[in-house]
């Protein structure tokens, strides 16, 4: 970090909080954090779970991170490389990071470019099973130009090169500590996996897998006055309601993560006045996928495949539009999500640059309009059973999702609204570990999609939607030939869409990328193969005595823990 940025940072900290500028390292004492899912390891490359990534983010850091607005900020790097400042090559195949001055590991040795090179080797080792390997996709080589300069070469132009070593999911690990842990030997390094040496504000003093972690302030941390907390207890286990209770009601803990519980109960707990509920919105959207292929069991092996033919009626956008219009998203938020949700009409709701406004009509429920639309299109109830028919086939759908109280409430409400427009829904819920398990032998996975409609949440990590939007290419449709792997779950296929994906892969200009992403979003939404419902945010709670929290859904929630402090 050069002196100018350091000064700016110090000045900013001073302006934000006069108290903080005067506080010193460790002056706030002890911090208690509870995550109701307990971390299993502190090596985020061995487990891609949020709990492991976020707990490790106290120790391990990367070149750049995303702040609470989704803006990239230099962290271990001196600045963000761009084409303008020469950090990214003109042909977009190379990015060069410069490590900021004076950064040491917690054991006192300096952080060098060799550590970054090693991290790349560690995660891309073919036998390692690295959970974050996708961050190194397209990376041809990582080269240490000198001790402070890391050059990443891509094997094709990469318009958004900020993947490797950016954000909490691809941090830099110490080469000296993990040197013997490459590939198949990774599990042998239990001590390193449970107590990685990092550059972050804290060091691990005790790690008990699936239970508790004890941290203390890193005495070699680059900011002499931070972190303000001297020690941290990171407890795991229990359930979301108990975690909320321990912060908001009993005050035993200072910070609780991921409190997806009944919003009325959470509001009652907050009303006790011990703590505050905070939310941050990233890119998670709870959505309905409308199967574009035919899931009829009579088709046998061809069920829900392109070869099995199109869906008898869900490929008509009119029906999808009516189903979307019938839903009162605001009520769904009120019932199931509270502060942790906002109605949305886009599958790509954020960052702002990429968020389309073309579909906002869906925010208002319009059952009469939906009925009129279906009547006009000729989908009428001919046999008087209250269900409309399309070419003699009743508009009756199987609507599946994972087992989860909020999702079952949503299902019940949506079923009711659809019945008001003459569409019948049969509800089904499947245990989350099976539904999301991806076992090609199971008929109940979300990829197989042996149903007409299914509901779940998806998102993308980081701030760039290119890879996410590429999910819906024709070639991504799951089927038996790919062991049912593929991300185009609703089996949407449109040549124009694929062309836009290809165009985005070669476009570097940010505004232009924004326009392309919005156009793709609108194309999917207007095909009504995806009906977005709720833009979901992370919900956490902190004690009122805790200051400095800037919750972010773009990075680890604990990304700025070095600035957290106890109010005077």
């Amino acid at each position: 970090m050069n002196s100018k940025t350091l000064l700016l940072g110090a000045a900013a900290a001073f302006m934000l909080s006069p108290v903080a500028a005067m506080a010193e390292r460790g002056s706030s004492g002890h911090l208690n954090i509870i995550y109701w899912q307990a971390p299993s390891t502190l090596n985020p490359y061995l487990s891609g779970g949020t709990k492991e990534v976020e707990s490790a983010s106290l120790v391990l850091e990367s070149f750049a991170r995303f702040d609470d607005t989704g803006t990239m900020v230099p962290w271990l790097a001196a600045d963000i490389p761009t084409v303008e400042n020469g950090g990214v090559s003109e042909d977009l195949t190379q990015i060069t990071w410069t490590i900021a001055d004076g950064i040491t590991w917690s054991d006192g040795t300096p952080l060098t470019a060799a550590d970054a090179v090693f991290t790349w080797e560690y995660c891309t080792h073919p036998e390692g099973g690295c959970a974050q390997a996708s961050y190194f996709d397209g990376v041809d080589s990582v080269v240490a130009v000198d001790d402070m300069t890391v050059q990443i070469n891509f094997n094709a132009p990469k318009p958004f090169p900020y993947t490797a070593f950016v954000g909490s999911e691809s941090p830099i690990i110490q080469a000296a500590q993990f040197a013997e842990c490459l590939g198949a030997r990774a599990p042998e390094c239990t001590d390193a996996n449970f107590g990685p040496i990092g550059t972050g504000p804290f060091v691990v003093t005790d790690f008990r897998p699936n239970d508790v972690i004890e941290f203390e302030a890193n005495q070699n941390f680059r900011y002499p006055d931070r972190p303000y907390f001297a020690t941290v207890t990171f407890k795991g286990g229990g359930d979301a309601a108990a975690a909320a209770r321990s912060v908001l009601e009993t005050g035993e803990f200072d910070y609780a993560w991921n409190l997806q519980i009944d919003p009325t109960i959470l509001a009652q707990m907050e009303a006790q006045g011990n703590g505050t509920v905070v939310t941050a919105f990233g890119t998670s959207v709870e959505r309905l996928h409308l199967n574009q292929t035919n899931p009829d069991p009579a088709l046998g092996d061809l069920r829900s495949t392109v070869e099995g033919g199109p869906h008898p009626f869900l490929t008509d956008p009119i029906i999808g539009q009516a189903m979307s219009m019938a839903i009162d998203r605001a009520l769904l938020v009120e019932v199931g999500y509270g502060a942790g949700g906002q109605p949305t009409c886009n599958v790509l709701p954020a960052p702002e640059l990429y968020a389309s406004t073309a579909n906002d009509d869906c925010l208002v429920q319009d059952i009469a309009g939906a009925n009129a639309l279906l009547d006009e299109a000729g989908y009428v109830d001919t046999d008087g059973d209250g269900i409309r028919e399309a070419n003699g086939m009743p508009l009756s759908v199987l609507y599946q999702t994972s087992t989860n109280a909020v999702r079952q409430d949503t299902q019940a409400l949506v079923k009711q609204w659809w019945s008001e427009i003459g569409i019948d829904a049969e509800l089904r819920n499947i245990d989350a570990s099976v539904f999301f398990g991806g076992d090609p032998a199971s008929p109940d996975t979300f990829q197989k999609f042996y149903a007409d409609v299914e509901m779940y949440t998806n998102n993308f990590a980081g701030v760039d939607p290119e890879a996410y939007m590429a999910n819906w290419r024709c070639s991504e449709i799951p089927g038996p030939d790919t062991q049912w792997q593929g991300s185009n779950i609703q089996r949407f296929c449109m040549e124009e869409y694929d062309a836009l994906v290809d165009e985005m892969a070669t476009t570097a200009d940010l505004q232009e990328r924004g326009r392309l992403a919005r156009e793709m979003n609108d194309m999917i939404i207007q095909s009504y193969s995806i009906i977005p419902l709720i833009h979901r945010g992370g919900v956490s709670a902190h004690a009122n005595s805790l200051e400095g929290i800037r919750m972010s859904d773009w990075d680890s929630e604990l990304w700025n823990i070095m600035d957290w402090r106890r109010a005077e």
Partner: protein
């Protein structure tokens, strides 16, 4: 007696092998995937690589025999090495590795055993201490108000699940009264009187929740067994001899009534090691039960398999102990 014990021990080996295989098949054939809990942002190719590196894709029988070999050979060697310091385990001996933590499963079990023994063990002892007097008095004063009350409470303790009583206790004693912590601090070390009080405070709720449940069960056995004996001829003889009621009940009747109760208590001891899945989860005690449930949820086959197998060993073992104990307590029973 010795031949009987040896015969039973030898018979236990095929039993345990069979049990371990059945457990393995159940765990393996159930639809679970170690990568299911990962965020959807992790693409399928990466998931496949993770599964590959964990060895999930190997043939089922290969996985089973590999586990068996590690369980009966490598792990005991490590255990011996850990206890004695002898260098018996080969340098690069592989061990049973958990999918979640990528660390040896045995270390996880060893780390969690003390908490389970403390919490569940104490609750078992507390349960016995409460249950025996209640059972004795209830039987001696059958249909009195004390008996009715005892029956009512044990029915309550027996039928109300611990996930309800646990949360109820937390709401009353931790949230409303603020007497005890709702989260068990597993890093707490008892060094002096004050820290002992802290430990007492945090252990009391889980112990009472489980103790209530155990006491209800044992007190019913005690009562029934006492009632059987109170009407026996030898009791009338004892009274006719002019012995005091105290001696009649506490020496003659109690001793004879304890035989079935001791068997029940002995047979339930493996459950102490097994921990209390729900109670440990409710109070966030990092015991064996919590280890098992988290492992099941995340498809961690080696951990589930190893923990269940250890339970199986303990159950077979304590069944044998109970049988042998029977012969010791009651000279009429001989196995030879």
């Amino acid at each position: 007696m010795l031949t009987y014990t040896i015969r039973r021990l030898l018979l236990a080996i095929p039993t345990l092998l069979f049990i371990s295989f059945i457990i393995f098949l159940i765990v393996k054939l159930s639809p679970s995937d170690p990568t299911a809990g990962l965020p959807l942002t992790i693409p399928p190719e990466v998931r496949e690589q993770i599964r590959e590196s964990l060895g999930v894709n190997q043939p089922v029988f290969v996985q089973y025999f590999r586990w068996l070999q590690l369980m009966v050979w490598n792990e005991p060697l490590h255990l011996i090495e850990g206890w004695t310091g002898w260098n018996v385990a080969p340098e690069s001996t592989t061990r049973i590795i958990s999918y979640q933590t990528r660390s040896p499963v045995m270390d996880l079990i060893m780390q969690r055993m003390p908490q389970t023994l403390w919490v569940v063990g104490i609750s078992y002892i507390v349960g016995i201490i409460i249950a025996l007097p209640i059972g004795i008095i209830s039987a001696y004063r059958q249909y009195s108000w004390f008996d009715q009350l005892g029956t009512f409470i044990s029915m309550l303790g027996f039928s109300v699940p611990t996930f309800f009583t646990g949360v109820l206790f937390i709401v009353i004693f931790a949230v409303n009264l603020g007497w005890f912590p709702s989260v068990y601090d597993t890093t707490h070390v008892v060094t002096d009187w004050d820290s002992f009080i802290v430990q007492l405070k945090q252990i009391i709720m889980p112990v009472m929740v489980l103790g209530l449940f155990n006491a209800s069960q044992i007190s019913r056995f005690m009562r029934a067994s006492m009632l059987d004996n109170l009407n026996q001829d030898y009791v009338r003889t004892a009274r006719a001899k002019g012995l005091t009621e105290k001696v009649v009940v506490l020496v003659h009747v109690l001793r004879n009534s304890l035989i079935p109760v001791v068997t029940v208590i002995a047979l339930n001891v493996p459950a102490v090691f097994g921990g209390a899945i729900i109670t440990e989860q409710v109070f966030k005690v990092n015991g064996i039960g919590q280890l098992l449930i988290i492992a099941i949820q995340s498809g961690d086959v080696p951990t589930v398999q190893t923990v269940s197998f250890i339970f199986a060993v303990l159950i077979v073992l304590f069944n044998l102990i109970a049988d042998v104990l029977y012969g010791v307590l009651d000279p009429r029973i001989r196995y030879d």
